[in-house]
């Protein structure tokens, strides 16, 4: 029988059961789960927008610090362009060093964003709802920073346009057989695709921001929301477009890091020339990416007071995801290592001997950060839900995965076919400055971004909350979920 209209309240006004025991269960559910803790959309809007317009002294100090580091990076880059790549530590055998490792690293941390928002969306995982945008933002800026590195890396930056397929009267085209060209295509496709995907999901939030702001902000948000009114037809189209883009972006995401890995594995350099590099790099990218998302979640939650949105359950879920990725990464790493070790080819042995010899401190630090710590701690729910612990683990994984890339790129190159040309590599100040400066630049972009764009996808949160329902089964209250597709 249909209930009369009068008794159907809004979804955030859940009736409290008379039974004290059941009422406790409902209360417990609200505390634990964001999806069960429904509040009026207006309240959530205010919660999101309130901190967006606040910039305390600590914000400005952090901004100045990151800005100074970015400035140092730009200065180092300018000096490098002016005086030539001679100021770096690269040599005639190790022609690729941290700049290429940075490219791999920054594209890597950009992978989790798409995975969380696209793959988890298609799998209908509710825990991605409040964190999807924070993750996508890393994708956006991670890719932007990554795209800097081929430019920083080349010898003649002023001739870079030769690499692009620009029509010219001499009909000189880029070389389509070059893995660098594939990589460039993959990165641009991914950058465009993920920006589009992010923007589509942002439209309702821009409209929300437009309706709650005045002055220039209102004008900017009004333009960005593309005249969104929130009609049924608009929501329906948003749903369709988001689903299509989710399916499209996932293969692109895989192609990007496979493309990056092919830069290495298509070369005949021992230590690079390995068919496992494609999937290995994709897993490695997700691994460092998810760790980076956890770091950003902690910082955003702390500094923007989004404790309501990012709860223990989200850190728990991300921690489990990170544990799965730890195991996958270990599997790939040792599959590659053991194949080389068993193959017993002199050069691959030489590379392994170097990792356990002169480069041993870095190698073992990498194993400690990537294997020992995550595997030893993430199985515990107490660790997964403790923010300081997750922060430290996240930082360690960043360090570990960065070292792993440097070891693959520069470590392998220092051992090559003719032993006369074995040269070890030591980074010089430009590489260090540029690497740290780019990280600061990423942070700077992110900080500024959080003050202009709602970093919580509010509409996704209340969409999820509206679909939740508590039902009574015997003496228990269970939450159920309505699928409206």
């Amino acid at each position: 029988m249909l209930e009369s209209r009068a008794t159907v309240g809004p979804y955030w006004e859940k009736p409290v059961p008379d039974d004290e025991h059941l009422a406790q269960q409902v209360e417990h559910g609200r505390e634990q789960h964001l999806m069960l803790d429904a509040r009026p959309p207006a309240e959530l809007n205010q919660l999101t927008l309130a901190t967006m317009r606040q910039t305390g002294p600590r914000f400005w100090i952090a901004l100045a610090g990151l800005g100074a580091m970015t400035l140092a990076f730009l200065t180092a880059w300018a000096i490098q362009i002016f005086s030539g790549l001679g100021i770096t530590g690269l040599n005639r055998s190790v022609m690729w060093g941290p700049y290429i490792a940075n490219l791999i690293y920054f594209i890597g941390i950009g992978h989790a964003g798409t995975f969380i928002s696209a793959a988890l969306r298609l799998m209908r995982m509710d825990f991605r709802r409040p964190i999807a945008r924070a993750a996508e933002t890393i994708t956006l800026f991670g890719l932007a920073c990554a795209a800097l590195f081929p430019i920083i890396h080349v010898g003649r930056i002023w001739k870079l346009f030769y690499m692009m397929p620009i029509p010219n009267q001499r009909e000189l085209w880029p070389n389509f057989r070059s893995a660098l060209f594939w990589d460039m295509m993959a990165i641009t496709t991914y950058l465009i695709g993920s920006t589009l995907f992010m923007f589509v999901a942002l439209i309702p939030d821009f409209a929300m921001a437009r309706d709650h702001t005045t002055g220039w902000r209102r004008k900017v948000y009004g333009a960005l929301s593309l005249g969104w009114r929130g009609t049924d037809g608009e929501w329906h189209r948003l749903e369709v477009v988001s689903n299509i883009l989710s399916f499209v972006i996932i293969p692109v995401m895989f192609s990007v890091h496979t493309g990056v890995s092919w830069n290495l594995s298509m070369a005949i350099q021992p230590g690079w020339h390995s068919a496992i590099f494609g999937p290995f790099f994709v897993v490695g990218a997700l691994y460092s990416g998810v760790a980076a998302v956890i770091l950003v979640m902690i910082i955003v939650r702390k500094t923007m007071r989004y404790g309501y949105f990012m709860r223990e359950e989200h850190f728990n879920a991300m921690g489990i995801f990170l544990l799965i990725l730890t195991l996958s990464w270990i599997y790939f790493y040792f599959a590659e290592w053991i194949t080389n070790w068993y193959g017993n080819l002199p050069l691959e042995k030489a590379i392994q001997a170097m990792l356990t010899g002169p480069l041993a401190p870095m190698f073992y630090l990498m194993l400690f950060c990537n294997i020992v710590v995550p595997l030893g701690t993430l199985w515990s729910r107490r660790v997964r839900t403790s923010l300081p612990a997750m922060f430290i683990i996240g930082i360690l994984i960043q360090i570990g995965m960065y070292i792993e890339r440097v070891l693959i790129v520069a470590g392998s190159l220092s051992r090559n076919e003719l032993p006369f040309n074995w040269v070890n590599y030591t980074p010089h100040w430009p590489e260090v400055t540029v690497t740290l400066g780019t990280l600061a630049f990423l942070g700077l972009l992110y900080m500024v971004f959080t003050r202009f764009v709602p970093i919580i996808p509010v509409w996704e949160v209340y969409e999820g909350q509206a679909m939740q329902e508590s039902r009574r089964v015997g003496r228990a209250v269970v939450s159920t979920r309505t699928e409206v597709h």
Binding site: G86, V154, G155, Y162, A179, L418
Partner: protein, 240 residues
Amino acid sequence: MAEERNNGHKWTMIVDLDKCTGCQACVVACHAENNVPISSEDEVIRGRANHWIRIERYWEGEYPNVKARFLPVFCQQCGNAPCEPVCPVYASYHSTEENVNIQVYNRCVGTRYCGNNCPYRTRLFNFWAPRFDEPLEQQLNPDVTVRSPGVMEKCTFCIQRIRRGREQANIEGRPLEDGEIVPACAQACPTDALIFGDKWNEHSRVAQMVPSERQFKLLENLGTEPAVYYLKGGETHVGE
């Protein structure tokens, strides 16, 4: 793509290791002929020794029964060159006329991918603007570009001499003779350990010397099809 026989020349070098004394005259001649900048001592320690041809010295045995072996290594002008497909801008491409590997300096953007993919490590990167100590700047060869910083360079088999020889023969309306074109390194070699010629000219000295029992190619297992043939030296051919 591997080379196919065409109407061009197949420029080939033979390095007779039995004759090589490791005197480095070829290295000096190459620097003078091709305007190769001289690296400072610090740069060499940093692993940036800049030579288009280098003598790799390997020690064999334990002291006091130790032997030095010399291996002159320069661009092998591979018929199936690993450096060519990886260049995103075709700065490294294959000449079908001379059948050597050409580096186009003004097309190069300096991704250094070719350098990583060269198993012989004969490709060099210009880390700094070229600098020649006095009075070396007075003797730069006008036939050869001085490369700008940020580009890759490598041995060209003295392509300027090849072109000049061919044009001279053309003017005189006669076919090119064997031995007419000699790269600087081969010209300077006091023991005649470096022999240069067109392998597709059946009467050339190179074509006759290649089918030797002592012949091998450097890193032949990689399938790069080098145009440089080495003849084994030392005791390796005792008992032939």
